[in-house]
């Protein structure tokens, strides 16, 4: 049994504060002066910075040796239904929280909305609050609430501050995800009632209690898992359900794209880990082949389609589809390496794709186009931009020494241990990624610069400052991921152990073929048995 909300619960409720700080900021922004956008921006930046500071404090205060949830806090909400504000984080959610805390101030600093600043900043802050809620809540209903509420600010961000066909994109985004999560609510409620029936206890939506009890019959649990999985699959998105993503990414404002790619897509993958694997280990194991196939298809499909894109932003969007395929692959490998790799990849993807979108946004700001064909030779006019773009791109490709490599490598190792051929197929995706990104880089930055391209200004100081932390992370995580993996490992191990305990005849697939690959820079993976 994982100790419920074990250690390091400080007297200060840091997790609720994490959720409430941005919301408070949002309130301040709403009450702020309409005609002073710079002041509103200041408030927004301060609020996100404060949140970011909290997450940094969390990182430092987090006890890496503990495999349970930390910083727990609980407040009753609807007692009648056994719903409470239950927060806690473990190694799985810690870095996603941190990622959120870092990306938001960057996204807000990087761009200005242009109009209706007040609403813009308010929505951004609400969005952050919602995301934080998703990553930290341990009550099924609260999780669902946050999972859903995220849609609203994102909808408005795309719809009001997006480009081109934004109405279509925003509506599609909203409906896809809403429809996807429709069944999850049913699943959550059914799960709680079945759990209460089976245990004879009072109605509760406490994730830990339900997951640890594993009181649901196998068959039922599979149905419930599907209900959850649909929501997550749409959110990730997994291959056939991905069509909202390119539209949303392309039409969203830069900050929106950054957040969407960097954080929102992780809601789905995180959900698979926390609410799929943890709640329904047997069902997850049962359906893993399906998701593995879909993950591989996503990798290859995303890469192939990305290759054919004429729109730079769309290209990056499709690259996300491919990257997320890796995460899915790792998650459903159901071993420590895979899951860790997936987790790491979540963080990495957030950093590198976020940075890519920022860069694309910067190019757009200068040239007002996303069309690759209209760009060219930017390297000459904006060498620093090109350099930064190169680094980020290489991270995205998965060049060893940069962060992307670590995650992808771990995923491949995990998958290889579990299902060799999937890993081989996915490996092809890595090659394709190199292809489309490099090709795009070539077309955009090389060649002769004509017209406006020749006079395009280079990075400004502010933009550089915004990008610096991301670049730093790309490099640091690529060279020295140990502290991260160290903190993830206990939780992931516990999760895998949980799966082993509750799935008959399941053993963590590690180095089955006798190929013992020690992940580079990784912690020891000796706990295989």
């Amino acid at each position: 049994m994982i100790p419920v909300l074990a250690s390091a619960s400080p007297s200060f409720p840091v997790l609720p504060a994490l959720v409430l700080t941005p919301l408070l900021g949002a309130l301040l922004v709403i009450l702020g002066p309409r005609r002073r956008p710079e002041l509103l921006k200041l408030v927004a930046v301060l609020a996100t910075m404060a949140t970011g500071a909290l997450t940094l404090w969390l990182l430092s205060a987090f006890d890496p040796g503990v495999d349970g949830f930390q910083f727990g806090s609980r407040h009753a909400w609807i007692e009648e239904l056994g719903i409470s504000w239950l927060f806690g984080i473990d190694g799985i959610s810690l870095f996603l929280v941190a990622l959120t805390g870092i990306l938001f101030p960057i996204a807000i600093l990087a761009t200005d909305p242009g109009h209706d600043s007040r609403a813009y900043y308010a929505w951004m802050l609400v969005l952050e609050g919602g995301v934080m809620g998703v990553f930290t809540s341990l009550d099924l209903v609260i999780f669902f609430l946050c999972f859903e509420i995220v849609l609203v600010p994102m909808y408005f961000l795309i719809g009001r501050w997006g480009h081109g066909n934004r109405t279509y994109a925003a509506t599609k985004f909203f409906l896809y995800t809403m429809a996807g999560s429709a069944l999850m609510l049913v699943g959550i409620v059914s799960l709680a009632f079945l759990h209460a029936d089976a245990t004879g206890g009072p109605l509760t939506f406490d994730l830990i209690a339900i997951a640890e009890a594993q009181s649901i019959a196998t068959e039922t649990a599979r149905w419930l898992f599907l209900a959850f999985a649909l929501a997550f699959a749409v959110k990730v998105p997994i291959f056939p359900l991905h069509t909202w993503l390119p539209d949303a990414h392309t039409e969203a404002p830069t900050a929106g794209s950054v957040i969407l790619a960097g954080v929102l897509l992780k809601l789905g993958t995180y959900g698979f880990l926390r609410f799929g694997l943890y709640l329904f280990p047997e069902a997850t194991h049962h359906f893993a082949p399906v998701f593995l196939v879909l993950g591989v298809v996503g990798i290859v499909y995303g890469a192939v389609v990305a290759t054919m894109q004429k729109d730079l932003k769309r290209l990056v969007a499709y690259s996300s589809v491919a990257h997320l395929g890796f995460i899915i692959l790792g998650t459903f490998a159901l071993n420590t390496e895979g899951i860790e790799g997936g987790l790491l990849q979540m963080v990495n993807h957030g950093i590198s794709t976020g940075a890519l979108f920022l860069l694309v946004g910067m190019i757009y700001e200068r040239r007002h186009t996303h069309q690759i064909a209209e760009l060219g030779g930017l390297q000459k006019s904006a060498p620093i931009l090109a350099a930064v773009f190169t680094v980020v791109m290489l991270s995205s490709i998965g060049l060893p020494g940069l962060n992307g490599f670590v995650g992808e490598f771990l995923v491949l190792v995990g998958t290889f241990n579990a299902h060799r051929w999937y890993a081989v197929a996915a490996g092809g995706g890595v090659v394709l990624a190199a292809l489309y990104l490099l090709w795009a880089y070539q077309r955009v930055f090389h060649g002769p610069a004509e017209g406006d391209n020749a006079e395009m200004p280079d990075l400004r100081l502010r933009e550089g400052l915004v990008l610096t932390p991301l670049l730093a992370l790309i490099v640091v995580l690529g060279i020295y991921p140990k502290p991260v993996i160290e903190r993830m490992e206990p939780a992931v191990d516990a999760l895998v152990e949980h799966v082993e305990r509750h799935v008959d005849g399941f053993h963590e697939p590690t180095s089955r073929m006798g190929v013992d690959i020690v992940p580079e820079g990784g912690a020891d993976s000796e706990e295989g048995r």
């Binding site: 909400w77 609807i78 007692e79 009648e80 239904l81 209903v141 669902f144 609430l145 946050c146 859903e148 509420i149 849609l151 609203v152 909808y155 408005f156 719809g159 009001r160 934004r166 109405t167 925003a170 509506t171 909203f174 409906l175 809403m178 429809a179 429709a182 069944l183 609510l185 049913v186 409620v189 059914s190 709680a192 009632f193 149905w223 209900a227």
Partner: protein, 496 residues
Amino acid sequence: MFAQAGTVATPEVLWWALVPLLVLAGAAVLLLTVASLVRRLPEWLPAAWTIVAGLAVLVSVVPLWNEVQDDGARSFLAGAVGIDGSTLFVTALLAVAVVATALLSRAYLTREDLPGVEIYVLLLLSAAGGVVMASANDLIVLFLGLELLSIAAYVMAALHLRRIQSQEAALKYFVLGAFASAFLLYGIALVYGSTGSTGLARIAGYLSTTILLEDGMLLAGFGLLLVGLGFKVAAVPFHAWAPDVYQGAPTPVVAWMAAGVKAAGFAALLRVFVLTFGSWSGEWQPAVWGLAILTVLGGSIVAVVQTDVKRMLAYSSIAHAGFLLVGVQAASDRGTAAVLAYLGAYTLLACGSFAVVTVVGGTGDDRHGLDAYRGLGARRPWLAGAFAVLLLGQAGVPFTAGFVAKFGVIAAAAEGRSYALAGVAMVAAAVAAFVYLRILVAMYIEDGGPEDDTDATPWGPRIVITASVALVLFLGVVPGPLVDLARDAVPVLVGG
């Protein structure tokens, strides 16, 4: 000769329990009398009077609630009337709807230059009918309450005497309403025939203690009652009147229909089916199940193709009826509580939404196309913002009362193992979300739209909108009070 007449024993009356009804009916009659005697009644008086009456009912409900919570439900007047938590809960909802409708009506009548005393009289009497339905302990009393509610509503629908649409709406409402009443009555007759009584408590007692060898008549009665009440709450396939009526009727009246009439209708459904026929739930649950599925899907899907906002909201109210039916179908205490909580949330949402529609409708009450909402976010940010909150609430977005409501009925369905129903309902909710998004898109994303001829929102609608938005948000974040009240309001049948 005279001596014989004196031997009649009159039944006991709990006057205190009748206070809400007496306040409503008394206020109506008094208003009517005063209005027919005083020349040049101050224009604000009827509305103010109605609002005061509504508030008085709200206030009076509080001690009654405590009384009922302490001493349990009662029944009196020879078992014709009962008082329990649900009675008072629904009464309070009706009172809220009355106040809101009166606030809207005042602004509306002034704008449309219509004479206005009768609308308030009818509103109060209609509400009295609703209160009767919520407290009926006898099918005949229930029916009379329903007719009181409906007939007043028919007239109110026709009250924009300068618009032929208004009268047509009333005609459609009336014809189908009368049709439904006939079904309801036939159902009552058959239930009477198979149980020997029209008293709910007697029927319930009979059904739970007697094994019926021949239940054909009873089942036919169930079916007809369901059809009759289904018409009243606009369940698919008995919904045909709702869109037309919502579109044509004066908007404040639509608010009443959506909030008040629906609440009373579901109070009746709960009393009759869940409470009285509870021991036979296996027989009627499948029918309600089917009705619920048809209603959530039908309402949501057809709403998508509408271009008139009032029609959209009409179909969405049909979809909401479907959700309420999901709660009814559960045939459990949790289901009942969920329905009541849903009604509470929907009352707020409907009042607020139609308040916005009233304002946007403009002079002549005919600007209800999506075009009228284009660019509203830029023109009138606060109005649009409020509408956005209300629409999101109707969509069931978290941290609005709408979510709490939907969550409750879904939970009830899940508890009753009606997973398919719950799933379909949630999918339908996602479809319905598209409808609300279309309005949001029009308000925020599209530009243009007509120039406003009115400068500011009148204070009546403003109060309604502000209060409903505040409550919708508050109950979304702190749903405890609503959920607890609804739990305590689960009705009890007391024999009489």
